[in-house]
Symmetry: none
Amino acid sequence: MSQRILIVDDEDDIREFIGYNLTREGYDVYTASNGQQAIEEALRVHPHLILLDMMMPVMDGRQACETMRKMAELKDVMIVFLSAVQEEQCQIDSYDAGADDYITKPVSMRVLCSRVAAIMKRIKPVATTSIIIDSSSRAVTTPQGEFILPRKEFDILQLLFSEPDKVFTREEIFSRIWGGEVVVGDRTLDVHIRRLRRKLGDDVIVTYKGIGFKIVL
Amino acid sequence: MSQRILIVDDEDDIREFIGYNLTREGYDVYTASNGQQAIEEALRVHPHLILLDMMMPVMDGRQACETMRKMAELKDVMIVFLSAVQEEQCQIDSYDAGADDYITKPVSMRVLCSRVAAIMKRIKPVATTSIIIDSSSRAVTTPQGEFILPRKEFDILQLLFSEPDKVFTREEIFSRIWGGEVVVGDRTLDVHIRRLRRKLGDDVIVTYKGIGFKIVL
DNA sequence: TTTAGTTATCACTAAACTGTGAAAAAAGTA
DNA sequence: TACTTTTTTCACAGTTTAGTGATAACTAAA
């Protein structure tokens, strides 16, 4: 549920120290001790941010970064270099390799945390679900893309979405969407559900015969 | 069309030097010499990135940053501090104030450019139809040229422009442009929108059926 | 397999909403 | 006043959305 950070450093102490502190900040921390491992781990956990040490055996940070930037799965991940090298050229090379930031060691933990937080706040809200709805624009973002839903369809989706996995009875949906007095035919709801399914995929809304519908995420 | 950077520093030399280099890198550069001016200019040009000096007269960087973070129009703009202060606490405070990055001066131009580029590449690559509006003269500058808009058209544009990408409902537009009691017909707004579209191009203002309009830049 | 109850789908109609040109009304100016 | 510019209105065309009944498909039980 939290944002994931992959710490890559060949020194156990550093991994542990940074990892401990970032865990305490509420991130899910993963580690790797060289570039090769970093890529494997990154592919596995899809971190939001990678803290990448420069000097490492097997594959150094630069190589790892360049490799990842060529991989479709990882080319958009945030990569921050941690390096003891102060030199200007090294920094520029790192950015050329695709880095998003370059932090020189030693760095205080407090500063590192601030910096990580600043980067993380820019990362789009962690998708806890595969569907994101925005009631101000009635936009729905799904793995299939984003689209604007008509009012009724959106209202129904929003209702189901308000409590995923809860089965809403037909009566409940009618009363909450159409209100007390308005009476529309039975089939109307089915038609709206069908239109939603066309847009969201058939698996998202599940029918409970004789009862109603629920949404699964 | 390019990405816009606002450079804020009280020293003319620095503004000019950084400005010259960033212009050469292909950015549209705007400048301000204190926090107060920075906010005004930021509201006017909607920069993608603000390079903000820490120490300035009238309003310093921290204050300016905090103020902008509270404004709906500017709360999402990238803000990078430039500061001569190496101290840890200052850096942390800056991040707390809402900074996205903190660069200590002196910094080589090459490193600064790399860093700016790294930040810019994360900003949506969408063709930036830069529109600059000047409320004193009601002049609007677009890639198609500059023109003076009639008051109502300008007010509507300015409202939409105050928060690009936000969908303004018809009700919201009516109440903010015409005020509480004044009642005009429904189609009036559509007519104004059409006239704006004729001048700005059809793609700039997007209709959300049953909701309202938004501007995309 | 048959049956009854329920749900899914389709084609179509009605309703709601937006875009548009023309022109009237209002406001501003010389 | 006469004239220009801006704002609003109106009628209607074009689109999108909502609702409906007929019917097919499905499901569980007998």
